[in-house]
Symmetry: C2
Subunit: 250 residues, 2 copies
């Protein structure tokens, strides 16, 4: 099925801004119809004429949907439906990235950017309750869903406890499975801190984003039994490709 | 105490970028020393000289800390320590905004932007499991911590179930307390969906942000007993003023 301009309807008599109503109406059709990624949207002019609203209103709705990752534009070609966002329950679950991606129907893969032993970092050693001089393992990875980069992840672990981690190949092995199988060390809980920040130059380059696009910055201290901190990680998720869900109870 | 440039140290022999080490070192001093909001940072040139690194490295570190909300700049005056971010456990708890702010030591206040009855909105009525023609209460609020706007919040509720909600003054009353006290309706659980998006014109204006600055967009369906959906809300938090923490277990 293709996009049906006749199904877009807006109401000029309610206090909800027109551009916002149009956004909702477009989203609604993306979600409810059988539209596919890369299907094309009507032009701004077609929507303007069909709804009798100003072109700038239509443009605002479309720009925001592009910014939020629902649509994408190609110069001279038009506006198209984007791939659906990756809906992760990462804030709530300690599943591995690979498992979560597979559950969502994506093919995960990992590129290892760096794996080495570094000097203690005052801030990080403190979070891991290590003496300042203790060395750290530093692992930096770029993780993909269906070949698109979705998260840039830096991980720090105490070197003296986990020396052999340095010899693994994390393009094929999960860090958590090595921790469990080699060290019988299972992550039992974690504290995450979440911020929305503008992509810096390195993040933009790795995640194929424009500079200053929104990135979800997630910093985690992960603990094994007896509240022993094992891992500190800094993850940057592309804002336009990820959405996170949390269920909470009183 | 003032900022101590001699305590900044970086290591040129590790693979962690220098600007990033400098960021961490500055943050570490902000967190561990008794620095106060509005205390000044040494100039770029002073840091450049003290550490023997390039000015562009120093600039990158400072720009990122400004973007992330740790520092702020005033033209012709210098760079200063920003107010600490508001650390909310909003992703994990159903506390009211007011209670959360009071717990964190802020003075909360609320400005009601709009409160009215609107026609059913297909998408929202569906989330609230209402027939399409059912009217909604639309409540739009701007909420402040110590007079700074931190979240722009739009709330939709079924009108026919909660008609008298339209007569309350939400600058002084909490929506949840009216629901509980007048309707004996207590929110028992909620599903939140979290995105990092660029601020649009309206959000930027209300939250005093630059256009396209990162905003944490949190959409919530809140349920009473028997999984009855009661409330749909869209909250936009200033990225530079809010940080969210989540604790999770296997």
């Amino acid at each position: 099925m293709s996009f049906d301009i006749n199904k877009l309807s807006i109401n000029k008599n309610i206090p909800i801004p027109l551009y916002y109503q149009l956004k909702t109406a477009i989203c609604s059709q993306i979600n409810s119809n059988n539209l596919q990624p890369d299907d094309s949207l009507p032009t701004e002019l077609e929507i303007t004429d069909a709804l009798g609203i100003s072109r700038s209103t239509v443009r605002q709705a479309i720009i925001e949907l592009v910014n939020e990752g629902y649509l994408y534009r190609e110069k001279g070609k038009g506006t198209f439906i984007a791939k659906p966002k990756i809906e992760a329950s990462f804030f709530q679950k300690l599943d591995s990235f690979n498992q979560e991606m597979i559950d969502k129907g994506f093919v995960p893969s990992t590129q290892v950017l760096d794996l080495c032993v570094i000097q203690g970092q005052p801030d990080i050693n403190k979070k891991l309750m290590l003496p300042e001089q203790d060395e750290l393992i530093y692992l930096s990875r770029l993780r993909f869903a269906d070949k698109d980069p979705v998260v840039f992840l830096e991980t720090y672990l105490p070197y003296k406890n986990f020396e052999s981690l340095i010899h693994e190949d994390y393009t094929v092995t999960s860090l958590y499975s090595v921790l469990e199988n080699t060290y019988f060390c299972r992550i039992e809980h974690a504290v995450r801190r979440i911020d929305a920040v503008p992509a810096n130059a390195q993040e933009a380059k790795l995640l194929l984003l424009k500079l200053n696009s929104p990135v979800m910055l997630v910093r985690t201290v992960a603990y094994a039994d007896h509240d022993m901190p094992i891992e500190y990680s800094i993850a940057r998720y592309r804002g336009d490709r990820n959405t996170f869900t949390v269920e909470l109870k009183r």
